[in-house]
């Protein structure tokens, strides 16, 4: 018998800050190839949870394994691509072309003293092509629109050829048309390149079609395994109440 090792194996995670419970008893597994959305109210702990998965925040108790290894022993960080919340709000003056930023994605993969190899160059081009921004290569990041920046940030994450992409509200400040195109792109990365996708969002209506599982994080985690019934999941409708309903209608009009 062969068991698949989950990318993330999270057990009984708790996070308490100054006596206040932020996350309570969270457990889940994420397997290769999955497409998972995380929703939940502001301050529900979504960002905190992701930061813990990445080792940026220490849980009060509980265990996180990445590719079967304890987090503190995990070394192959290039396998994980991370785009933080508000990543598109770059410092306008930061001296970086699109290519400069995407190249950063290769650093993790290289040995510390190695120069830029032809493979690095090819992977950078590939990531730019995947995000459809090859023509922006030499533009300064500060001059790009929100939607373009979003693609640059994801191209950077893609450049290390990760197994999983973790995106924290990648859509803040992006218009509806770009959002749609964006979700199409994510779905394509998931299906064609077999990249596992975990992302936080507030617009469940737009994404309901493609995603495999839905996590609702509001101090506790509720996991909804059937995407078709997603909007009728008890906790989802409890949380989003009227919202979920409205989004549902909205979808049918398209």
């Amino acid at each position: 018998m062969k068991f698949k090792v989950p990318i993330f194996d999270v057990k009984n995670l708790n996070f308490i800050v100054r006596g206040q419970k932020i996350l309570s008893d969270i457990s889940f597994e994420i397997f290769e190839g999955e497409y998972i959305a995380i929703i939940g109210p502001n301050g529900g702990g979504k960002t905190t949870l992701i930061r813990m998965l990445l080792g940026l925040e220490q849980p009060t108790s509980g265990e996180i394994k990445i590719f079967g290894k304890k987090l503190k022993n995990f070394k192959e960080w290039y396998k994980i691509g991370y785009v933080p919340q508000r990543a598109t709000l770059v410092d306008e003056n930061f001296p970086a072309t699109v290519e400069d930023i995407v190249k950063m994605g290769r650093i993790a993969k290289r040995g510390i003293l190695a120069g830029i190899s032809s493979e690095d160059k090819a992977m950078v081009e590939d990531a730019l092509a995947k995000m459809d921004i090859l023509d922006l290569k030499d533009k300064m990041v500060g001059t790009l629109s929100g939607g373009q920046r979003q693609r640059v940030m994801i191209a950077r994450a893609l450049a290390s050829s990760p197994k999983i992409l973790i995106l924290d509200e990648p859509n803040t400040g992006v218009d509806m048309v770009s959002q749609q195109r964006f979700y199409t792109l994510l779905a394509k990365l998931n299906k064609e390149d077999n990249i596992t996708i975990l992302f936080i969002t507030h617009d469940i209506g737009v994404i309901a079609d493609d995603i495999g599982r839905l996590f609702t994080i509001n101090q506790k985690a509720t996991i909804c395994n059937d995407p078709k019934k997603m909007l009728s999941c008890e906790e989802v409708s409890e949380l989003y109440g009227i919202d979920a309903h409205a989004l549902h209608h909205h979808k049918h009009e398209h």
Partner: protein, 265 residues
Amino acid sequence: MFEMFEYDFMQRAFVAGLFIAVLASISGNFIVLRRYSLMSETLAHSALVGVAVGLVAGYNPLWVAVGVAIGAAWLIEYLRSAFSLYSDAILAIILSGSLAVAVIIVSLGGAFNNSLFSYLFGSILSVTNEDVITIVIVGSISLLFLLLFSKELYFIAYDEEVAQTSGIKVKFLNFLLVSVVAIIIALSIRVVGSLLIGALMVIPTVAALQYRVGFRNTMLISLFFALFSVIFGMSLSYYYSLPSGATIVLSIIVIFIISLIINKK
């Protein structure tokens, strides 16, 4: 105009000055982008404590300054991570604290004299052979480190957390960066002076940023500006017998103003 190079002291000053221009501008890129500008100013004042000790106790002030500046850099990093204090407040405290300590040491030791003045504002006359050798050797090692890790440091400056989640040893590199900056600042004191070195680190980068070009070009432009202002400033210093730190800093400020005007949107 080349007759100034007939003097040994001028040759020494130029070798030291050009080296320092390279070191200050390259490290300055990371310092400015990491929002550590005030850090260089603070470390320069800490280095002054080393100068004071050196002057009073009769050691080479340069070496003592290197030691004290590194100690101060580590103290700042420690305070930043161990207590929830505003970083700029920590810097302000250490800056004025260092100055106070330096002044007391100098007063008690009776070393308030011309030599101290040259450490404050730089002097082309004061650069010794030993200084040049120290600057070239220690400076080369520092430069090697900066170039070796420039991509990582750039990534960290761009986004520290994303860099960390990409497996970059952020804490270690931060630590090394502030140490190298402390060393560079201490080395620069002879030529630029401890009250003025912060400007040579920060302004070339800020001026280069006005041209809105990528990382590599920004670094090259800042390097060019720093070299130019050191050459021009030291020449002015020679012809008008002015403190070299002051003429260098005024040159770079003129370059900054021109850059601002040229690139006005």
